[in-house]
């Protein structure tokens, strides 16, 4: 019998048999669970296309061994919309032309979600750009990406502050 790991993926708990310890979280999501929204760009931690949230924090899933993440709570791009209703960040990327070919977009959006959770960027475009520098966009849609993230950063942060108050 092969070792099993347990992962909560987009709110659903899964027990997964791992015959090979070499499998990364990225390959597990794409090849085993057919969650192909998370993209394999460089596969070396340089492009950010594979960004997912693990326990609420953004990481590169290409450089994370699945076997080492037993018990983790994972959110991928497939897990953020509410049914047919897009997540506000997804809608903002459309509204601000935050992509052209779209290959980097799932990673950009998951990274932006992580950035907003971290609460370090403030409403500052320069800090947003710096905080998003781990996500490359070959089409060069950075201007739209920054606008979309900045807008949603401010909206979501405001909404969070209201809930706390």
């Amino acid at each position: 019998m092969h070792p099993c790991i347990s992962l909560t993926i987009n709110g659903v708990q899964r027990v997964i048999e791992l015959a090979d310890p070499r499998v990364t979280l990225l390959d597990l999501l794409r090849e085993r669970l057919h969650l192909t929204g998370t993209k394999k760009g460089c596969d070396r931690g340089q492009c950010g296309a594979c960004t997912i949230l693990v326990d609420g924090r953004r990481i590169n899933s290409c450089l994370a061994l699945a076997v080492s993440h037993d018990g983790a709570d994972i959110t991928t791009i497939e897990g953020i919309a509410r049914g047919e209703e897009l997540h506000p960040l997804q809608a903002a990327f459309i509204a601000h032309d935050g992509f052209q070919c779209g290959f980097c977009t799932p990673g950009q959006i998951m990274s932006a979600l992580g950035l907003i959770n971290e609460g370090q960027a403030g409403g500052d475009a320069e800090r947003i750009r710096e905080g998003m520098s781990g996500n490359l966009c070959r089409c060069g849609a950075y201007a739209g990406i920054t606008e979309a993230v900045l807008e949603q950063h401010n909206k979501l942060t405001e909404a969070k502050e209201k809930r706390v108050a």
Partner: protein, 352 residues
């Protein structure tokens, strides 16, 4: 990637036994190791996963005024720890100037200190590299070497140590705690990494099975917090390794530098402490003439290892600039572009 046996020990003692065998490697976040394994540069038979070991993920203030940082603390958590960043601002700035937010969320303190060089010839298994395969030769020595070492290199190896974190740490007299087959011991960070000499494959003083469990900053390191900066020249604005970097930490009283700490990154196989320069600065006024004299002293032994003579002049200017920025005072908040020489800062000598 070559296959391997995966083990997850429950205690440090079990980990040391599991990792003492030839071909075993410790796995923390894996942000560097997995990359090296995918390239075939590292081919461990066994990975010993230390991420679940208890007690290594804390930032502990010590009774004497120092701080102990567990080896499993994530780079981002350390940089964003308010008390830590206030006491050691140059360390926080260095951390935030490294890699990307995703990598900083995963990468650990221990992994950062023990990361391998990014020399392209080390990474390319089709090229000769004395670090990867002792005695085979160095592809970089007569190759593309404009980013390679200008201090402490040898004909066998001209690679640099890529860590930003280590540069202010070495300036602040950091100590690493190590658990091994013979028990627990401590090594000054300055003595952990080895210069290449004739044996560049031996990169640290660690023995097989040795586990770096913590980094400690001694009492008094926080007394330099009001004048502390890290400055790093990259080939792009963000998300790149240092071409050259410098950490400068000063204690200034009545117009004199009571104490000065200075270290360089990206110039040698280890974080480079500039002790001669520090001695020249101590007692003097924090002005550009003194900064220039100190920077000259720091680079007295610097020598191009190839097409990288420019790095010596760049290092000189980055040290002068880092000292000037440190003297001007630690900013209230880490700049939007951490450690960037292109970020404007009042009082800085932008043409230094």
């Amino acid at each position: 990637m070559k296959s391997f046996e995966y083990v997850r020990p429950a205690s440090v003692a079990e980990a040391i036994i599991a990792a003492s065998q030839p071909g075993a490697a410790y796995l923390a976040a894996g942000t560097n190791l997995l990359d090296l394994m995918k390239a075939g540069v590292c081919r461990p038979h066994r990975l010993v996963d230390v991420t679940r070991l208890p007690g290594l993920d804390r930032i502990e203030p010590l009774a004497d005024g120092g701080v102990r940082i567990g080896a499993l603390v994530r780079n981002a958590d350390l940089a964003h720890d308010t008390a830590f960043a206030r006491a050691y601002p140059a360390v926080a700035e260095a951390l935030l100037s490294g890699a990307s937010a995703q990598l900083r969320n995963a990468a650990t303190v221990g992994g950062n200190v023990l990361q391998r060089t990014r020399c392209a010839y080390f990474y390319d298994v089709a090229s000769p590299c004395n670090k990867r395969e002792p005695g085979i030769g160095c592809g970089a020595r007569h190759g593309e070497n404009r980013l390679h070492a200008v201090l402490g290199w040898s004909d066998a190896c001209i690679a640099t140590h890529p860590s930003d974190f280590c540069v202010p740490l070495v300036a602040l007299d950091a100590v690493v705690e190590i658990e091994g087959a013979g028990g627990r011991r401590e090594v000054r960070l300055e003595d952990l990494h080895l210069l290449p000499g004739a044996a560049p494959a031996v990169e640290t003083v660690l023995a097989p099975g040795d586990l770096l469990t913590a980094v400690r900053l001694p009492a008094g390191a926080n007394s330099l917090s009001r004048h502390a900066r890290y400055l790093k020249v990259r080939e792009r604005t963000s998300y790149a390794f240092a071409v050259v970097s410098a950490a400068a930490c000063l204690s200034i009283d009545r117009g004199r530098m009571v104490e000065a700490r200075l270290a360089l990154g990206g110039v040698a196989a280890k974080p480079w402490r500039a002790r001669d320069a520090e001695a020249m600065l101590a007692g003097g006024a924090p002005n550009s003439a003194n900064f220039r004299r100190a920077a000259d002293a720091a680079l007295a032994d610097a020598k191009a290892s190839g097409d990288n003579e420019f790095k010596i002049e760049l290092a000189r200017r980055i040290m002068v600039r880092a000292l000037a920025l440190a003297a001007a005072g630690t900013p209230e908040r880490i700049p939007a572009l951490p450690a960037s020489p292109f970020a404007t800062q009042p009082g800085a000598l932008l043409d230094a």
